[in-house]
């Protein structure tokens, strides 16, 4: 069983953290992953930076720009992660846009992920049907779980289809927005969380976009298996550096 599937079976609400590889400094990637695990984070999304990230807000985009300036590339990231499984046990997911993966070669990319011990991928601009028709077999051959996004506008029929081809969890985008643009959840969002929870899908849901503190984390995990924090953690890294990760995790999930 894949580490993501194992983790999802644990009887707790999961905290997943996104950060951009190569940010704030090129060689921070591994130590940030280790610190996050040490401080009780359940799952990590490692952002593969892209020059033109359509679904990201200004905070994550700026971190990607910095990471690229620092010299981050797909090749460098794979080198940095080469021995990660000697020290880190929690699920690791690479989140990136499709073009860099496509240029690396989808099969070569998946193979490398398997060698390293990466468990899953989140590729926001790889559409569900293109994945299903062209790449699903390859991903599965290398034991990778592909995570799909749904939004408040995704139809019930489409959610059911996404559920049928998902093997881990469904990434529930909290509201119609890019990353980092929300603060707090209102009725519209909680109704949407509840609506999806009531669909009794076979894959659990993890909510992302708009989680920045203990309040929003608690709100989100009332209805879902877990929550993902991205922009708020990047902001923390930008202002307080990577030595205060414990402070951030405690602030969110205590």
């Amino acid at each position: 069983m894949n580490r993501i599937q194992n983790k999802l079976q644990e009887n707790k609400k999961l905290l997943s953290i996104y950060f951009t590889a190569g940010y704030p400094s090129l060689n921070d990637t591994v130590s940030i992953i280790q610190d996050l695990e040490k401080n009780g984070v359940d799952m990590i999304e490692i952002g593969l930076p892209f020059s033109d990230p359509l679904a990201d807000g200004p905070t994550i985009q700026a971190s990607s720009t910095d990471a690229l300036k620092n010299g981050m590339t797909t090749e460098v990231l794979f080198k940095q992660l080469k021995d990660i499984r000697k020290t880190v046990k929690i699920p690791l997911i690479i989140m990136g846009y499709f073009n860099p993966i496509f240029q690396y070669g989808v099969e070569a990319f998946c193979k490398k992920c398997q060698e390293i011990g990466v468990d899953g991928l989140i590729i926001p601009d790889l559409p569900v049907d293109v994945y299903h028709n062209e790449y699903q077999a390859t991903f599965e051959r290398y034991g990778l779980i592909n995570v799909f996004l749904i939004t408040p506008q995704t139809s019930e029929e489409r959610i059911n289809f996404i559920d049928s081809i998902s093997k881990g969890f469904i990434y529930m985008v909290s509201s119609a927005s890019v990353t980092g643009s929300q603060s707090g959840f209102g009725n519209t969002q909680t109704n949407y969380f509840k609506r999806v929870a009531d669909m009794n899908l076979k894959n659990p849901q993890i909510i992302g976009f708009g989680i920045s503190d203990n309040k929003t984390f608690t709100q989100a995990t009332t209805y879902a298996k877990g929550a993902i924090i991205g922009s708020a953690f990047i902001k923390h890294l930008a202002t307080k550096g990577r030595n205060n990760i414990k402070e951030f995790v405690t602030f969110v999930a205590s």
Binding site: E75, Q103, A176
Partner: protein, 393 residues
């Protein structure tokens, strides 16, 4: 060989809809409706009427006598520069605003490079009384000041794109983000034959009025509806798509696509995608794309704000890969000189984008009885400052 889009939105291997889930409902709504709406008699009637009475179509097909004499061939100019707002862009924005209204959208967003598409979008929004937000790279805002002023006068809000190269590519990213954040009431009027399916096809169909007119105008003037060549400049490629459309499946008509070489194809400052690009994904479609080995999108360069885009529309990528179109790259210098030459020989000041297409006559020989139709996609008023600075006028 088929050069039209297939039912999945591909031109050969290029096209598709590589979009985040957040955009899926918007794009899907458009995909399911655009052909149906375009076929409605009411839609056609309103579209045709506006093109005629508001845009001023048909645009003339002008036999450029002195230019023809100079290059010893028969050169016809399709005068899109005479359209209302000064470029071909209005053909598409009229079509898309009517589409948006029928889909019940009341907020319009757009991206613009040279400002022509922004002005055309602001114009149709004013015409229809819809809110209009135009994203434009900060650098383009500086170099296309008259068009920025026009958009503001027309009631549009011009939002500077501050990321990346602060030009067209980044303006497009910002517009897409806006759309993600406003999925229900907003229609995104894409100005070029790029973007997720159905945009490249929809934009091409709206612009295909250009080749439709060339056919009957040429027949009237020469007795034949097919020229030997059709020529257009390509950034994303909307004027080119419209100029080629009715000739794609006429093999005796040569198709010439002119890209911006900037300071030279190998100079590191260029926008010649057909030479420098390889297959990749940008702004929602698979196409030819200038990028690093690692898949990061490269910042293109051209003196022309309308051509410095790192990709081309997927239809053009297909025309390039199959060899249906001949691609040429023209430097800033050659384009500027060709622009000035048209002023002196024909009394027409072309947009710098269009000057790229005109510059091919110095590089490529045509037979004396060849009929060559060049799309004069826009007028040069917006570029006066660039011309002034370049020629120290």
């Amino acid at each position: 060989m088929n050069y039209n889009v297939n039912e999945k939105g591909y031109y050969g291997e290029f096209g598709g809809a590589y979009i985040p889930e957040m955009l899926y409902p918007n794009v899907e709504e458009l995909r399911q409706n655009y052909l149906k709406v375009m076929a409605e008699p009411d839609f056609k009637k309103e579209f045709d009427q506006l093109l005629k009475d508001y845009v001023g179509r048909p645009s003339p097909l002008y036999f450029a006598k002195r230019l023809s004499e100079k290059y010893n061939t028969k050169i016809y100019l399709k005068r899109e520069d005479l359209n209302h707002t000064g470029a071909h862009k209005i053909n598409n924005t009229i079509g898309q605003i009517l589409m948006a209204k029928r889909l019940g959208k009341h907020r319009i967003i757009a991206e613009t490079g040279a400002g022509q598409h922004g002005v055309a979008t602001a114009t149709v929004c004013a015409l229809m009384g819809l809110e209009c937000i135009v994203y434009m790279g900060e650098i383009d805002i500086a170099r296309q000041a008259p068009n920025v002023a026009r958009m503001k006068m027309l009631g549009a809000k011009v939002m500077p794109a501050l990321s990346g190269s602060r030009t067209l590519k980044d303006a497009t990213n910002e517009a897409i983000r806006d759309w993600i954040n406003n999925p229900v009431d907003t229609h995104y009027i894409i100005g070029s034959a790029i973007g997720p399916h159905p945009y490249p096809d929809m934009v091409t169909r709206f612009q295909s009025i250009i080749s439709e007119e060339i056919k009957w105008q040429l027949k009237e003037q020469t007795g034949h509806e097919n020229p030997n060549y059709v020529v257009a400049c390509i950034g994303g490629g909307s004027n080119a798509a419209g100029t080629y459309y009715h000739y794609l499946h006429e093999p005796e008509v040569g198709i010439i696509a002119v890209e911006a070489a900037g300071h030279g194809v190998d100079s590191g400052e260029s926008a010649a995608t057909s030479v420098l690009g390889k297959e990749g994904i940008i702004h929602g479609c698979k196409t030819l794309l200038m990028q690093t080995k690692d898949g990061q999108i490269t910042e293109p360069y051209s003196i022309s704000a309308g051509l410095d885009y790192p990709g081309v529309g997927p239809m053009h990528a297909h025309l390039c890969k199959t060899g249906r179109a001949e691609f040429m790259a023209i430097t800033d210098d050659d384009a500027m000189n060709a622009g000035l030459e048209l002023c002196k020989l024909e009394g027409i000041i072309p947009a710098i984008e269009s000057s790229h297409a005109l510059a091919i006559f110095k590089q490529r020989t045509f037979k004396s009885n060849d009929v060559v139709v060049v799309s004069l996609s826009g007028r040069g008023d917006k570029d006066l400052e660039n011309y002034i600075n370049y020629f120290k006028i």
